[in-house]
Point group: C2
């Protein structure tokens, strides 16, 4: 697939410099076509019968396989969720921590992780997102490291495997800004979340939770999909593997759309998005913009602004979609493998105008 | 809206005697059209920008209002969920019960309720679905009645308001088989779940949880939608009202589709579905089928069968969609306001052939 072919999949790119995959990615024609085909089938043939349920269960198997493959784990280690928030809540509810326990996190996490951490009842230790500081915050009471693979604020990449190895503390990795944006190997991580609607360009309310050892996490939020058999009082035998954590039904159209989106990615996607993100940083620096450039960085590009909300609104008027990171004075652009030089020029011109 | 007009909304009814709304309802053309319009908009205009987010939040307000109106409560008492399972899990995780506490439920509940009950850690007391037996099972340790408004097995209706009043124990009502099927007044109930994809004929993975007093239930599963403000360690100020329990994003297409489905219901829907369910019971009895006829009954019609799986498969071949209730020897037909005499004749003929 050439770059021109790959880019042409996304009609929104004909209108906007769409730099918002860190919130919600662009949708490809074939993704929407796959969703529409499922919706038409449901309309005309109904959402019932043996064929229908076999099809739904088959799609769940395919999505699980595809996402497992994407991050290098076994399908038995993948639970299908509706979001990263979902995944974080599943882990924290399942770990059953108390006020004697500590969790180490960073100053730059999203509420989708922070909310579940707080709700767990454990003491939440917040450190700067510096590997040394994170390691120094670990002590005998630490039960979990909970942090992003790529920070949603600055695009900084954390060495999650090294942190796991050096601290020997179980780690929950928020993969919302890494999976689909950069190569990810989830092996060696205890828990990792995937968002379907961001860098994977999938339908809304899709995602996954990787659980390295499903037998060691309590099923805190059972659904019909969790149990192989159950008793009249609700006691149940969970299915083998991480499907026991599946929190519920996902629309057939969403499953099919996500599958199509993930399978439509060009082989060169990671190389290109990395290059384009670096180009973006250079162009911003050349335009005297105060870019944040962490030493280890991914495809999110942020810069400081005295009036971030105004900048975002002005850029939107100019057809450039970016976002503000609240309370930080940062504006953020998300650079994908579909981004071209023209998008970046529109961003720079918009900032100058 | 005449009956012919109302029925003509559902293409699946041209093919099948679709008697499966207790699992997943038929979809109307305008519901799918509304979903497609949202998907097309997302495809062409992207899923970002002020207009987009205003639109999404506006749709959430509209759906909340519509569902509140449907069951007679305030919009501030409605959380938007993805399922009844979701709602049950939210309640049980929030109540923080322990092994000294008891929950009274019935023999005829779905795992979507039973799983959360078991996981709560409380002792689950299972009684027959008889109001007297339920009341007799309540004691000083009972913290919750948790049961269906309409049993998914037999269509029996439980007097949930009377049970609440007589026991003075908080009640969680599984409304999956009542809301949309029969008139429902959720006032006076502590918690009630709504399923969007069943009797409301909405998109998959939609629903709601009614919480009479949102300040008295812990937010056990926070999402970005839960908090008005938050601290770096995740401590947060919840929004006023039940939106604090919203477990996450719902696809724009799903919100719009559900809204369309709920608004497309004819005024006479409850009268007609009740009549047709009674017709169905009479016709089955006339055909010497052993119908289950609870004294208080709704729009689910079940009958005993020596070989329920075989009967369901045979009926499907004959274009009649019903289901088996596992481990009960029951086959179940769900009768909606869209059901006509021809559907019922096809069912009877299928059973005879």
């Amino acid at each position: 697939m050439t770059f021109a072919e790959a880019r042409a999949q996304f009609p929104v790119l004909e209108r906007f410099a769409y730099l918002q995959a860190g919130s919600t990615g662009p949708l490809a024609r074939q993704t929407i076509a796959a969703m529409r085909a499922e919706d038409e089938r449901s309309l005309n043939e109904g959402r019932s019968g043996q064929g229908y349920f076999d099809r739904v269960l088959g799609l769940r198997v395919e999505v699980r396989d595809e996402l497992a493959h994407l991050v290098g784990v076994e399908a038995e280690q993948v639970a299908l969720t509706a979001s990263t928030t979902d995944g974080c809540n599943l882990v924290l509810a399942g770990l059953e921590l108390g006020p004697e326990d500590e969790i180490v996190t960073t100053t730059d996490e999203h509420f989708g992780l922070l909310g579940p951490l707080h709700t767990s009842g454990a003491r939440v230790i917040v450190t700067s997102p510096d590997p040394k500081t994170i390691i120094a915050a670990v002590n005998k009471r630490t039960r979990l490291l909970a942090l992003s693979h790529v920070l949603w604020t600055t695009g900084q990449m954390l060495p999650v495997h090294e942190l796991r190895e050096q601290t020997r503390v179980p780690i929950l990795v928020d993969g919302a800004q890494s999976v689909g944006a950069i190569p990810v190997d989830a092996r060696g991580l205890d828990f990792m979340t995937i968002s379907g609607q961001k860098w994977l360009c999938g339908p809304e309310s899709t995602g996954a939770l990787i659980v390295a050892d499903p037998t060691r996490l309590r099923v805190a939020r059972p659904s019909y999909f969790s149990q192989e058999t159950h008793e009249p009082d609700g006691a149940f035998e969970p299915w083998p593997g991480a499907r026991r954590f599946d929190p519920g039904w996902l629309p057939t159209a969403s499953l099919s759309g996500l599958l199509t989106a993930v399978r439509s990615r060009p082989e060169w996607c990671f190389t290109r998005s990395r290059e384009m993100a670096e180009n973006c940083r250079q162009m911003l620096r050349a335009a005297a913009v105060e870019v944040v450039s962490p030493q280890e960085r991914a495809t999110i590009v942020s810069w400081r602004s005295a009036e971030p909300a105004k900048v975002v609104a002005h850029l939107e008027e100019e057809g450039v979609m970016v976002r503000e990171i609240p309370k930080t004075g940062l504006v953020r652009a998300s650079i994908g493998w579909w981004t071209n030089e023209d998008d970046l020029e529109r961003l720079i011109n918009g900032l100058k105008s």
